[in-house]
Subunit: 319 residues, 3 copies
């Protein structure tokens, strides 16, 4: 019998705490989305005026400002970590955006797997500060006719090839096309095209000054989950490092109802809250941290154990 989701029980197992949970102020950087002068530039300009306590204060505030709004450049590639590709790109960023904070998301996207990268980008996007520049380079067509773009969406920026890697942020994106510098290596736009542009965006240059307006970014030709009566025809969109099988069904499509999920010959009616609720060898469903329906098992890879691959068709029957 299908198990009902129990949102009311979500916090039943709350950790004990006799004091009120800490109130955490909203992120300081969350309003730093728009391009702005960085502190050092305006300071240099100010330094040409007569020095006084007042102007010193102004400069000081400018510096504080630039620090607190220091831009993050977040890297997402399939370069792997054996070679110098990631390092060369970071070197370029360190030269051109010395004040930016360089953050590795992943360099272990399977080689050339644009869909994998697109999904990872979706799962991290909204968790980064406004103003973040995502440098996303999975680019098997590097140097060919595929356009190079930068885009802004939901107060953040992204730079990379227009090959579908921005599928999940494309709806709200404002894109510009990038010119390829004449001395760029035709096989390493990550280093010679995208990193310099990411550095410029992190330094406050506006999208309009980066390139000419472009069409909406390309989307991968993925099937969409489709509801027919009480059945959703869905798909496995990502297999994660633990072997969990992520579907393209957001929790909202389930409306809080019990489900039965079929993946080929295997099926489950157990919709649990946590991995720990699964029994050894049992396939379960849950709502994952990206808010999507997912198939999993306890301490093991559901993908391998149950032979579920990316792209597999799922039938989700609402109970």
């Amino acid at each position: 019998m299908p198990t009902a989701m129990a949102p009311a029980e979500t916090n039943r197992r709350i950790a004990p705490a006799r004091r009120a949970p800490l109130q955490i102020a909203p992120a300081a950087a969350s309003n730093a989305s728009g391009p702005r002068k960085i502190g050092r530039m305006s300071t240099e300009a100010a330094a040409r005026s007569v020095p006084s306590a007042r102007s010193t204060l102004a400069r000081f505030d400018a510096d504080i400002c630039s620090c607190s709004h220091m831009r993050v450049i977040a890297l997402l590639t399939d370069f792997g970590t054996r070679d110098g590709y990631v390092g060369a790109m970071k070197g370029v960023l360190a030269v051109r955006a010395p004040h930016a904070c360089i953050v590795d998301i992943t360099h272990d996207v399977p080689a050339g797997d644009v869909q994998h990268a697109a999904w990872v980008l979706k799962t991290v996007w909204s968790h980064f500060p406004a103003g973040t520049v995502f440098l996303a380079v999975v680019d098997p067509g590097v140097g060919s006719a595929r356009p190079a773009i930068a885009l802004g969406a939901e107060d953040r920026f992204a730079v990379g090839p227009d090959n579908g890697i921005f599928t999940f942020v494309a709806d709200s994106a404002r894109a510009v096309s990038l010119a390829i510098p004449i001395d760029a290596s035709p096989v390493f736009h990550g280093r010679d095209v995208f990193a310099p542009v990411a550095a410029s965006l992190a330094g406050g240059v506006s999208l309009e000054d980066i390139g000419a307006p472009a069409e909406s970014p390309e989307r991968l030709p993925l099937p969409r989950p489709e509801r027919r009566g009480e059945v959703i025809e869905a798909h496995v969109i990502h297999i994660d490092r633990f072997g969990n099988c992520v579907s393209d069904v957001p929790a909202a499509m389930l409306g809080g109802r019990p489900v039965r999920v079929e993946a080929g010959a295997v099926r489950t009616t157990r919709l649990v809250r946590t991995y720990a609720e699964a029994r050894e060898g049992e396939l379960v469903a849950l709502i994952n941290s990206a808010g999507h329906l997912e198939l999993a098992t306890r301490s093991g890879a559901a993908s391998e154990r149950f032979g579920i691959r990316r792209g597999a068709r799922l039938l989700v029957r609402l109970g």
Copy 2:
């Protein structure tokens, strides 16, 4: 015949240098353990007063201060590097602790291997600056009844599940339990519970303001090395990336004496200083960089070559 350890020879092979070795000043951050106001906050308060050269100076010093004591948040997980889990957590940190320095220790702890993580944490703990916040998330029981905690020990902090991951720092730890925010994903406390708390600690919030006092952290039920007469019954506690087999015997237990180490059918009486002293295919013992007795071989994995697994029982006979 057992080979005697030769501490007196430790620096026999010193690299040539005609000048005195550089005197390195003690770490600037080493007294930054206690919570303190970060510069930006106090600057904002100060900015409400009348601007003058003096108050500007005060603010400036506050900023210098905040920079030099910028907190490190050091990440240790089993999230792997293929997905967005690490990135999402870093995004949360970048939003909530924009001035902290985010450092990757590892994300390649084998999935769910709490003991592996506990050992890695032990080997890095004391090398980080006072005030460092370790964000340690290997959490197969995420969302279940296992408590979520933060702790302070030896001038540093740690945040994570109370499942034994803090075994090796538990003795001196002062722990508090964490409340689980009502909107936290039950399958990703790393992002929604632990990272926000790590950011708060990095920002100077005190442990008392983070949560209610908790019991001493849970310890893994590991056997301990036991000495009976001239024999120590010991255990392999960790296999490292090179296949070196780390034991639970600290060097002090050997008292500088020659040893014979037996691991099942294989044994060695060669206690060497460096890996380079081992001959091809020879099993040797040495004191590793964590100060523990270790079995190793030259340019190869002792674990694979000699079939020594984690948990294996060792007999260490003092000569």
Copy 3:
């Protein structure tokens, strides 16, 4: 028939842009090579003088200066990412160089593979800012007689074992030998010798104050590409993560002429600009992002598919 290289066509497939490409200012940090006082030190000294608007300004500029010239310490090791070795080294850097920017190049050099590390270092070196300190530790002979060195070359620094890892930057290098502190672990110079020295260099200490002048760094005994008439006898010097086979032939040796490349029984006459131009299963040659001749194929590992290993002899016939 050999295909001619077509430099004139390099930008034929330029991405569309109706505006002029962004003019990017030269890297701010590019003149930061020489050792200099870091801002905080000089600020502390200045703070002892009478506070005034003028001196406050001076201090403020000093701080701006220290920030914009903040040194990068770039890490390149074979430590892997499962253990605490990388973390311990980063902890030491965070203590001793709290203002430096720590950047991971790679920790996944195959264990003990000095040549791999040397090539990676070559491909990243010039892309990092002047003043960068490369901490390069692939050190199977750690603790043995091999010297420990630091060097300066082309406005950057490097620290590590003198075992050939600096082969490709040795020509212009000025090296000093390092003393081994008496309490250094003989099996972890990365943490106890090289990291402290890297921190000192990042803090502005000069090479002369680090150690005594040493011989030119050791070079790996690699064959060199040799031209005899219209044939270059070359070698595969590196296999990258994608299975591309990098040769030791810089583009300049080809003089822009058509080529036929033979690797054992396989050969190609197709010299292309980009990976995307290769047909499925076809071996092609191209000039890679390090400016070297490389053998590759489309969406697959040329090394595996065509059985080309590192060290393989290549014959490059100029057309």
